[in-house]
Structures are given as structure tokens and as C-alpha cells.
Amino acid sequence: MISINGLYKRYHNHHGSQWVLKDINLEIPTHVNIGLVGRNGAGKSTLLRLIGGMDTPDQGAIVRNCSVSWPIGLAGGFQGSMTGRQNVKFVTRIHNAENKLDEVIARVEEFAEIGAAFDDPVKTYSSGMRARLLFGLSLAFDFDVYLSDEATAVGDQIFRKKATRVFKERVGRSSLIMVSHAEAILRDLCQSGILLQGGKAFWFDDIKDALTAYHELNFG
């Protein structure tokens, strides 16, 4: 269970500082996959980063009673001049799993399927290769909750199918909180949904209702 209590978040910049998230109160269960929907700039990535502990709220608190992955997204996660293998080693070490280094590397290599590029600097990767590596890396650790920020968007069909299969296999053991604009994937993978609109968060037990509400609010 992840509980979010009275959370406020804003970013200061030269044209003022509007609240991105205002008074968010959520109890996020860890046994269902959750889709995070909302328009561009609604605060989906911000909420994901806050849940992942990458950023801190201005007010309120997030209590995580489970292991949560880092936000798996399109940017970040790697040091560009180091190779894929070196980055995997780094992440394994900071997660205190150095004794399982070989096992982690084998699992990541198998999932990412980037071949010899695994030993090339990450800055030479395409966005699809990066996403596959980062996704495979997070799956090598058994987190209770995975945070995905459009990580599946750049992958090809095969990668998407694979990611979908992995999360279906893991139902009950680990869950997923994902941001995506691909509604087919959301319907396929997620059971529940959170709609972010105007800085507020609305919980829906069924992802279909969340998507319907999102459509009604934004497209009449």
C-alpha cells in the first residue's frame, strides 16, 4: 500500500509558481495495475517521480510500505558514456545486490535483447534500445511496485508484447503504475485508474471508467 496524504507540489520558475498537484489524497493498493491518465502537463510524471522518491513534495507525505522501482522513463537512468553493462552493474550495486551481479546481468541481457550493443556506451543507443535496457534492468529486481513513465511507448511490437506478458505473469506478486497515452495498453494491462485533472487526482476502480471520464472532461 502506498498512501499519499495532502500532497502539494509546484515548480518555481520565472513566470510564477502554479500548483501542479493540489491536495492529493490517495491510497494506492499494490495488488492491481494502475493506469495514470490525464492531459500533457497534468502532473502525471510529477506524481510518478514523487511516488518513486526522486522528488520531494512541497507539502504532505508519501508513505511507501513496499519496495518501489525508480520511474522507468525515456530520460535518465543511465550515465551516457558508460556501456550498458557498466550501467547495469552500477544499478545492481546501489540496490545492494552485488552478490547476484551475474544473475542480474544475465536476466537483463536476456530481456533487453540488444546483443553486442550491451557493451557500447549508452549514448549510442536508440530510444527503443534504452527503454528495453532500462525496463529489463528494473525487472531484474523484484520490486513490489513498478513505475513506468511512457517506457513502453518507444518499443516495437515485440517489446510491448513481452512487457505485457511479464506483467501478466507477475499479477499478484508485483504491480505496475503506468503513465501512457496508448489507451489499448492501459486497457490491456491495468485494472484501475487514476485521472489527473486540474491538479486533482480522482481514483477509479475500473480503468475503463477512468478513460471514459477523461474523454468526457476533455473532448465533451
Binding site: 522528488d55 525508480w70 535518465g76 550515465q79 558508460m82 546501489i94 545492494n96 545486490a97 529486481f141
Partner: protein, 263 residues
């Protein structure tokens, strides 16, 4: 696979360990002959300065020390400070992708890089002392403990400057340029190649505002027992600068952690 909750200290230690291994690799294999240049740069500098010694010394002698060992201690002491500062300027930017992991803080790459530079430069110092002894140049510090202490002190000053500059360089884009420009004049006014004792007293008075002078002169005094330091060298003044820099740097890293991560 993930262990039970770790303490903050355990997490930080794991990050330092992982980052150290990764920085060592980057530092020693990034460009061809990285190792070669680490050794050759000070050797070449010593060779050039020794060839030009007439210009700086104009026939005079340094009281209580031979020119070559005097030059080597000054150069290495200054390089220890300079490398800490320069390597850290880009530390946050180079590792910004890794701030996606909540375990990693912007201060970590700076601390790790300074530690790594300290180790590398200490190794170079030991090599120089050993080579000097073998070549019959008096390079062994007369007071080894004092030499270690002043070497460490110069490292601390570099660390403080690195902590402060690395944070400021991200917050204010111009700082990195200013620091890069300032390093060259700093080299000349720190008494590394030009003995400050040769300068008139009223100039010395102003040059002594620079804490690096105090560190380098004290380092030399611990190497050469009869070395005549510039008047007014004071390690208390040196530590005031050092501790202020360290405190300011850590404060900047704490206060602006979020902005340093986001950039």
C-alpha cells in the same frame, strides 16, 4: 532479491562503492594513455620549468631547498587542489542520468571524484618521491607525518572548493567558465613556480590572502627541514577557508538538492 530496509548510511555506502568503481574506470580508460598523461604532465611541467629556471630565479637560490624538489612539491600540491576542483565541475552534469535512482544524490559524484583524485595524486606523489630517491635527488620528506598532514589539508581545500563550485556551476551557468579562467592566474600567484620570497613585501601581503599559498608553503616546510617559508604562513587561516568552503558547499548541496538533480 531486494534486502530488507537499509539504513541511510548503508544506502550511501553502496552508492559510493558503485560510483567509485565506475569513476575509476571512466577516469583511467576514458582517453587513450590516461595513465600516461597523469604521470607525464607533472614530469613535463618540471622539465619545462627547470629549463626556464633562469627566468624565475634570475641567478638567486631558494633558501633551504633545491629547486627541483621545491618545484615538484609545489606542482603536485597545486595539482591536488586543481584536479579536485576541475574534475568536480562536471561531476553533476556527467551523472545526471543516475539521479533517476532515489539512492543517488548530487553530492555523491563530487565526493567520489575528489576521493579518487586524492588517491591518484597521492600515488603520483609516492612515485615522484621514490624516483627522486633512486635518482639521488633529496625528495624524502624530512617530517613524513607533517607532509601527510599538509598534503591532506590541501586535498581538503580542494574538496571544499569542489563542493561549492560544483553546486554553483549548475545553479549559475557562468561559474564553470569563471573557475576555469581563474585557475591559470591562481597557479601563478600561489608560489608554485615563482618563489614568493623574491617578491617585495607589499606584494607578499596580498598574495597571502590566497589560502593555497599557506598550504603549499607548509607542505614544502615539512619536506625540507631548513626551508624558509614566506613570512605570515598560517595554517589557522588556511583551515578557516577550507572549513568555510566545505560548509558552504554542503549547505548548497543540501539546500538546492532538488534543483541540482533536475537541472
Amino acid at each position: 532479491m531486494l534486502e530488507k530496509r537499509r539504513t541511510s548510511w548503508q544506502v550511501t555506502r553502496a552508492v559510493w562503492h558503485a560510483m567509485f568503481l565506475h569513476e575509476v574506470l571512466a577516469r583511467t580508460t576514458a582517453d587513450r594513455f590516461a595513465w600516461f598523461w597523469m604521470l607525464v604532465e607533472p614530469i613535463a611541467m618540471v622539465a619545462i620549468m627547470a629549463a626556464l629556471r633562469g627566468v624565475f630565479l634570475s641567478g638567486r637560490h631558494i633558501a633551504g631547498a633545491d629547486f627541483i624538489p621545491w618545484l615538484i612539491t609545489g606542482l603536485l600540491g597545486f595539482y591536488l587542489f586543481r584536479e579536485n576542483l576541475q574534475r568536480s565541475l562536471k561531476a553533476i552534469d556527467a551523472n545526471k542520468g543516475l539521479f533517476a535512482y532515489r539512492q543517488v544524490q548530487p553530492v555523491d559524484p563530487v565526493l567520489v571524484r575528489c576521493f579518487l583524485e586524492g588517491m591518484l595524486k597521492s600515488l603520483i606523489l609516492v612515485l615522484f618521491v621514490a624516483a627522486g630517491e633512486l635518482l639521488g635527488i633529496e625528495m624524502m620528506p624530512s617530517d613524513v607525518l607533517a607532509a601527510l598532514y599538509h598534503w591532506w589539508a590541501l586535498w581538503c581545500l580542494g574538496l571544499g572548493a569542489a563542493l561549492t563550485a560544483s553546486a554553483l556551476a549548475v545553479l549559475i551557468a557562468e561559474v564553470a567558465h569563471i573557475v576555469q579562467i581563474a585557475i591559470v592566474p591562481l597557479f601563478f600567484i600561489s608560489g608554485v613556480i615563482l618563489p614568493l620570497n623574491f617578491l617585495p613585501h607589499w606584494v607578499q601581503k596580498y598574495l597571502l590572502w590566497n589560502p593555497i599559498v599557506h598550504g603549499i608553503e607548509s607542505l614544502r616546510a615539512s619536506f625540507f627541514s631548513s626551508y624558509r617559508m614566506v613570512d605570515g604562513v598560517d595554517m589557522f587561516y588556511f583551515w578557516c577557508w577550507t572549513l568555510s568552503f566545505v560548509a558552504l558547499g554542503l549547505m548548497l548541496h543540501t539546500a538546492f538538492a532538488r534543483r541540482l538533480k533536475a537541472q
